[in-house]
């Protein structure tokens, strides 16, 4: 059985707004799966329904099942889910800006009573992420975007997850940094066998990385299959891989944000 199974999940915000309308998806053990879609399609909402963080935003799973490692997740609060091996790297990184990278890592170890082990893990992270080691004593809020993303991923690894929910790690990063981050993701998945559910707007890069992918639109899964099959699909070619007219989704996102703000 798959590590993570979502069955017909429905999410409502503020008791009125139906953001996710019956999503089903699976992530196998040690799998690498992408969830693709345009702005506002419901990608982050799906991840929050899995990690439980919806509760902080007045969101609620009103229907369907979230099963992780054979266990029903809906009854557990987010810290309990983290202890089962399910960790969420939020969109926009959310590092602890006033703490140092080292303190950021330690803050994520409330589930490990063994101090010696925590110390060992921190050193291990710094060898995996030498750029963080260089800045170990700086305030994390002043790290570059790429460094903050690495820190957010390293911090999630400190919880010893079986599955990482990774929300738009490429957001706002220069192309060479996107490659670097995706290499890290690939390495974590291949070397440590940690499963990854990757949310991306950068469909080209994501389909290059993952084994299988789902496409979500207006709260519904509209397509799924192997990465190769999706990449070859003419509709996807058109809408997401920029066949003829290339769409810059980061620009679109900014525009949407502004629109929301003005409205």
């Amino acid at each position: 059985m798959s590590l993570l199974v979502l069955n017909n999940v429905e999410v409502v915000y503020d008791s009125v707004f139906l953001a996710v309308k019956g999503v089903s998806l699976e992530v196998p053990k040690a799998g690498l799966v992408a969830l693709l879609g345009a702005n506002g399609a419901g990608k982050s909402t799906v991840l929050k329904s899995i990690s439980g963080l919806l509760a902080a935003e007045r969101g609620l799973v009103t229907r369907g099942q979230v099963t992780f490692d054979g266990e029903d997740m809906r009854v557990l609060d987010p810290p309990a889910r983290v202890r089962r091996g399910l960790v969420h790297v939020l969109e926009g990184r959310h590092v602890f800006g006033h703490l140092t990278p080292e303190e950021n890592l330690i803050a994520a170890t409330s589930m490990h009573p063994d101090r010696a082990k925590v110390k060992r893990m921190v050193e291990e992270m710094f060898t995996h992420f030498p750029r963080l080691a260089e800045r170990a004593k700086a305030q994390a809020g002043y790290l570059s975007g790429g460094e903050q993303q690495m820190l957010a991923i390293a911090r999630a690894l400190m919880t010893e997850p079986k599955l990482i929910l990774l929300d738009e790690p490429s957001l706002g990063l220069a192309p060479f940094l996107v490659d670097e981050i995706f290499d890290i993701v690939r390495r974590i998945n291949a070397v440590s066998g940690v499963a990854i559910l990757l949310v991306e707007q950068n469909a080209v890069a994501a389909l290059d990385l993952v084994e299988t992918a789902y496409l979500i639109d207006q709260g519904r899964i509209v397509m799924s299959g192997t990465a190769a099959a999706l990449a070859a699909n003419p509709d996807i070619q058109d809408a997401y891989l920029g066949g003829a007219q290339k769409v810059d989704y980061h620009a679109v996102k900014h525009y949407r944000r502004r629109k929301r703000w003005l409205a």
């Binding site: 990690s51 963080l53 902080a56 007045r58 987010p78 810290p79 983290v82 202890r83 960790v87 969420h88 790297v89 939020l90 959310h94 590092v95 602890f96 800006g97 006033h98 703490l99 303190e103 950021n104 330690i106 803050a107 994520a108 170890t109 409330s110 589930m111 101090r115 305030q139 809020g141 002043y142 975007g145 911090r155 999630a156 400190m158 919880t159």
Partner: protein
Amino acid sequence: MEFALILELSVNGIFIGLMYALVAAGLVLIYKTSGIANLAQGALAMMGAYVVWAISAQLGAPMWLAIPLGLIVMFGAGLLTERLALRRMIGQPVIMVIMLTIGIEIMLRGVLPGIFGAAVKKLDVGIPNDPLFIGDILINRATMIGGLISLALVALSIAFFNSRLGLMMRAVSDDQMASWSVGIRVDRAVAIAWGLSATMATTAGILWGSTQGVDWSLSLLLIKALAIAILGGLDSIPGVLLAGVLIGLAESLATGLLDPLVGGGTRDVVASVIILLTLLLRPHGLFGREHIERV
């Protein structure tokens, strides 16, 4: 003689300032974890003093037992305040939450003297009241002991914030959502902050109550604590320590040197002037952290 007077005022002022700083450190503790200014902090100090008085005078417990019992009761009271009142306000605008703490302040200030009687209660914790002479200068022994105890507790809370639990509390103050996402039990961290803050307030209440008696006016410590927390930077415990000393000094010197000229009343003006000046000139206080803005 003039120099000896200034020295005497300064030394006593510093001790008083340290005792104020203890109340302010409780404010900072809550602000650092949950981002709200708890305006019921003075009332918690008053309540703590009443509770210890009641345990010793009403129930007849000896002081060495009444004080730890009072601290435990007030730790519980802090937890309960958070659980019953503050937690319901999650997601509400900050101003509503602050209003709620004002409500708690007013309620305690009315209810406690109502229950125990409005007359000033004598709280004798065994600190001798006779002054201490060092050379020419006269030191108030009660404020000296109170100041040193406060200093020790504030230093302890600095050490606490550098421990692993304290580190997690600082993480919560930075980003509650991110803290939750990496397994920190945010509600528990906030509750512990309230419990600890209430015990710090209680210690301050006992120290002040033993010098001036226990009545509603102990809740006025809030004004001094606010002045100190604002001057020190609402989220910095070392800042609170320095600001406490500065305000204690300023008050003591103002009272000793200006009162004879203007006919009294400067003590209470000092704190309010400092609140105003800090907010106008340096809103983050001396040590407050700045908002990190990255684009």
